[in-house]
């Protein structure tokens, strides 16, 4: 792709040449990352950082078996290649061959606007955000973390593949800390995008609205009730599905979805894609971490399970094809994983969901997701920011409250799906309105 080679990249060619002589096949994944975090703590500028890393992983096949090793010490590549070769004595048999050159769909992952952002500009923006918050909440302590990053991913193998792409990413994390009557309230907003991103007026309005609502704590009784999951909470049930369709867990027989392909498992209104080609998605990429071209994969279509996600090895073991879903850092062997998870929107506004509820809660943040039995779909979380709804109106914040349920059950019992998609990390999802969920209060 005609990019100027870095000093260490020239080394890659050399290592691959050396590898050809001592093992049957080899592949190098090289990743270089530059990050620029700027951090404001307790309303004031605190630190500016600069990070500059690179590392490579060498995967080899020798006598049909796999080996791997990695390093950040580019001069130590000789030793690393020997490690990788020696590992093949114990390794799993390779059920695939390294890919040859493929046609890639063009997808934009690098935005010049990000490269142009200056530290001063970030400082100015963070100062503005804090000032706006303090106007309304003078006692608040606000932390802001603004991070720009730029990475280069290159994969080359002894089959002649040598492809790379550059990717930019901006993330902003704002957290407002309020202490009222010895009670700590924490309200946060996370935004991430491959493009230049800022905290806009609407973000500020939402943050401040939540802060205002959070000041009044109202009691809540335990029981089944209507619950709205804001997009920020949706990764909790969704990660049960993304774990369930992971080809590795399917291959190991651990996934409960193993024999459920083409069966209706959740409500017909739910359609979910794994879309590595999503325009301006945080996980968008032209190819996966084995060099397989990206595509848009339906996971659930109208509630029916459509696909599992595979990398080369798990696909090979199950006599399937890779779905281009290999994920890993330079220091890991590949395994199947998600890219951008996109949930199709519905027709409801969140305001209409609230209006529709006689007795229930709206959940903005939880802690303790991921501690339950994710594979089985179970979740049980503490509502760290949630509000009680009574007769169609939000009446105050709930405390010491848990929500518990099962992803397959709740997603089969949907009252409404939001019309606006928000990005929560790599999950692009609307809000969901569930008719009945177990809420445990004290």
């Amino acid at each position: 792709m005609g990019n100027k080679l870095e000093k260490s990249e020239e080394k890659l060619v050399e290592i691959l040449d050396k590898a050809k002589k001592i093992v049957d096949e080899a592949e190098i994944l090289w990743i270089k990352v530059k990050e620029f975090p700027v951090i404001f703590k307790a309303n004031r500028f605190y630190t500016a950082e600069k990070k500059d890393f690179e590392g490579l992983g060498i995967r080899v096949i020798n006598k049909g078996k796999l080996g791997f090793a990695n390093t950040t010490k580019i001069e130590a590549c000789g030793a690393i290649l020997d490690y990788a070769k020696s590992a093949t004595k114990f390794g799993e048999s390779a059920q695939f061959v390294f890919p040859i050159k493929t046609t890639l769909r063009p997808v934009k992952t690098f935005f010049n606007s990000v490269k142009k952002i200056t530290t001063d500009e970030i400082k100015e923006h963070c100062t503005y955000v804090i000032k706006e918050i303090l106007k309304k909440e003078p006692d608040a302590k606000v932390d802001v973390k603004y991070k720009m990053s730029e990475r280069t991913i290159r994969i080359t193998n002894t089959k002649g593949l040598d492809i790379n792409y550059k990717k930019t990413l901006v993330s902003i994390y704002v957290v407002i800390l309020l202490i009222i009557d010895d009670s700590i309230i924490w309200i946060s907003k996370v935004k991430a995008s491959p493009k230049k991103t800022i905290i806009n007026k609407e973000d500020l309005r939402q943050l401040l609205e939540k802060a205002e609502l959070a000041k009044k704590v109202v009691p809540i009784d335990s029981g089944e009730m209507s619950v709205i999951f804001m997009p920020s909470v949706m990764p909790i049930p969704l990660s049960s599905f993304t774990t369930g369709v992971n080809g590795k867990l399917v291959q190991k027989g651990a996934s409960p979805l193993k024999d459920k392909k083409n069966r209706k498992l959740i409500d017909r209104s739910v359609t979910i894609h794994d879309d590595a080609l999503l325009k301006e998605g945080v996980a968008t990429r032209p190819f996966d971490r084995e060099g397989i071209a990206s595509r848009r994969i339906p996971i659930f279509k109208n509630g029916i399970l459509k696909n599992f996600l595979f990398d080369l090895q798990t696909a090979g073991l199950l006599r399937q094809k890779s779905t281009g879903s290999a994920v890993r850092d330079y220091d890991e062997m590949p395994c199947p994983g998600i890219s951008n998870i996109v949930v199709s929107p519905g027709e409801w506004s969140v305001a209409d969901m609230v209006k529709d509820i006689k007795n229930g809660i709206i959940v903005h943040n939880v802690i303790g997701g991921g501690q339950s039995n994710i594979l089985a779909g179970d979740f049980s979380c503490n509502v760290s920011l949630g509000f009680r709804i009574k007769n169609g109106k939000i009446i105050g914040r709930v405390k010491d409250t848990m929500i518990a349920g099962n992803a397959y059950d709740v997603m089969s019992n949907i009252e409404g799906i939001g019309k606006r998609i928000e990005s929560i990390g790599c999950f692009y999802t609307p809000a969901f309105y569930f008719k009945s969920l177990n809420v445990i209060g004290r």
Partner: protein, 454 residues
């Protein structure tokens, strides 16, 4: 190299500057199901420089040492620029010059790779030796780490550490019912920690199978008896993080909540963080600011008596540095962290703790834990009902949640059996994960714990 760095540092006009360089080497062996999924040997090298001026930090981290001088230049300049009109200082400490090498009788780094594989494989096969077990995971990891620390005050420290550990997971499955049990062992004491664990492996396997038949816990408010490992996760997650002074010192209201001398628990409650416990996973001689580790009492007889500090937080609160500024590796700046955190021994036997509970839960080990300041939640790996003072049937999906301050006051029974646990993995904070720590305590009894469930 070190002399060259000292010269570079001395040239910069900034009140404080420090350099960390690090070499790491290790092995990861992962069995998943029948296969050796990953045998990963690595060599990792990198460093960072950090400058401080009037309360402002600047930090740069890197793999290549080629541009060290320009990194030093960058941080000095950024810190200077940002600090105009600001105030702030670092607590004074003695600049130590020391070389800490590790000598272990059974150094895991010297053990041949095939022996490590053999051990992991034997545990893995043992887990799989049952028809009810669907899959397994056994992870062996060791790491040799050598850190160089130099600062503009004259500190010059080299410290080596060797970590070694193993974890095993058994996954039992019956239709859509999938149950998993996990256990790990790991510290800085040597290779012996991963040997002779057949009994524990059998236990993990049996527990996973038993969990398939266990009933889900009924949601409600219970009296909970936590085993030493879960007590450890509780003290770490629920209280330990609040003791970290880095978010306290900038916030007056938080300082009021965490005021020394305030009562936090019953007079039987004492909580300690101690980085100087040799052999534990959270052991170190110097923290990453060159401050020696020490035993720090956080709560003594129910009263808040101390907290964990970096040099910066200590100076801001006019307290002493506690030796708790740590980073997971060269990629990150040191921040205030725990080391080996535990609840001190009490005087009750296990039978006394459960004896007067009519209806409660005995919760064993943790699957995970998370806090958001005063709120915490953690899940037990396995649990049993306590009925009329006796341990009853196994139950599953026990997730405990609550408010730290209330929960600490609700600890009304403390056992006489302290046990610390390191394992693999560690603690996460500000995207720095996993930091090697140990936590533990005796069995403890907590009243009025909210448990989620059906």
């Amino acid at each position: 190299m070190r002399e060259r760095i000292k010269r570079m540092v001395s040239k910069e006009k900034v009140p404080f500057i420090e350099v960390h360089l690090e070499e790491r080497e290790g092995v990861e062996i992962y069995y998943v199901g029948k296969e050796l999924e990953s045998l990963n040997q690595f060599i990792d090298i990198g460093g960072n420089v950090r400058a401080f001026s009037n309360g402002i930090w600047s930090f740069a981290s890197f793999n290549s040492f080629d541009e060290l001088e320009s990194h030093i230049h960058f941080v000095a300049r950024e810190a200077r620029l940002g600090s105009k009109g600001r105030r702030g200082r670092l607590a004074k400490i003695k600049p130590y010059v020391d070389e800490v090498t590790v000598k272990l009788d059974d150094d895991p780094i010297k053990v041949p790779i095939n022996e490590k594989i053999k051990i992991a494989k034997s545990y893995n096969s043992r887990i799989l030796r049952s028809k009810k077990i669907q899959s397994s995971k056994v992870m062996y990891e060791d790491l040799f780490q050598r850190r160089f620390y130099i600062n503009s005050e004259g500190a010059d420290i080299v410290e080596e550490k060797i970590y070694c550990g193993i974890s095993f997971t058994a996954l039992a499955k019956d239709g859509m019912n999938v149950q998993m049990i996990h256990k790990s062992k790991g510290d800085t004491s040597g290779f012996h920690i991963v040997k002779g664990l057949e009994g524990e492996v059998e236990e993990v396997k049996k527990d996973a199978i038993d969990l398939l038949k266990a009933e889900k816990v009924k949601a409600g408010v219970y009296t909970v008896v936590a085993d030493p490992l879960l007590a450890g996760v509780f003290v770490h997650e629920a209280f330990g993080h609040l003791s970290e002074a880095d978010f306290v010192y900038m916030n007056k209201k938080m300082q009021k909540i965490m005021q020394l001398g305030k009562r936090f628990g019953e007079s039987n409650l004492t909580i300690v963080d101690d980085g100087s416990m040799r052999g534990e996973r959270g052991f170190y001689k110097y923290d990453d600011e060159g401050v020696p580790s020490q035993k720090n009492y956080l709560i003594k007889k129910g009263i808040l008596v101390g907290r964990l500090h970096s040099r910066e937080s200590a100076a801001n609160m006019s307290e002493e540095p506690s030796g708790n500024a740590r980073s997971i590796n060269y990629r990150f700046p040191p921040i205030v962290r725990m080391s080996n955190t535990y609840i001190a021994k009490g005087n009750m036997t296990f039978d006394e703790l459960i004896g007067d509970i009519d209806q409660g839960i005995y919760a064993v080990r943790a699957r995970g834990g998370q806090t958001e300041l005063e709120m915490f939640t953690f899940s037990s790996a396995k649990a049993y009902l306590i009925k009329d003072g006796k341990i009853g049937p196994m139950i599953r999906d026990v997730i405990l949640t609550g408010n730290v301050f209330e929960t600490l006051k609700n600890i009304d029974g403390i056992g006489n059996d302290v046990h610390l646990h390191g394992g693999l993995g560690g603690c996460g904070k500000n995207s720095q994960f996993p930091l090697p720590v140990s936590d533990g305590g005796p069995h403890i009894r907590i009243r009025n714990v909210v448990i989620g469930g059906e």
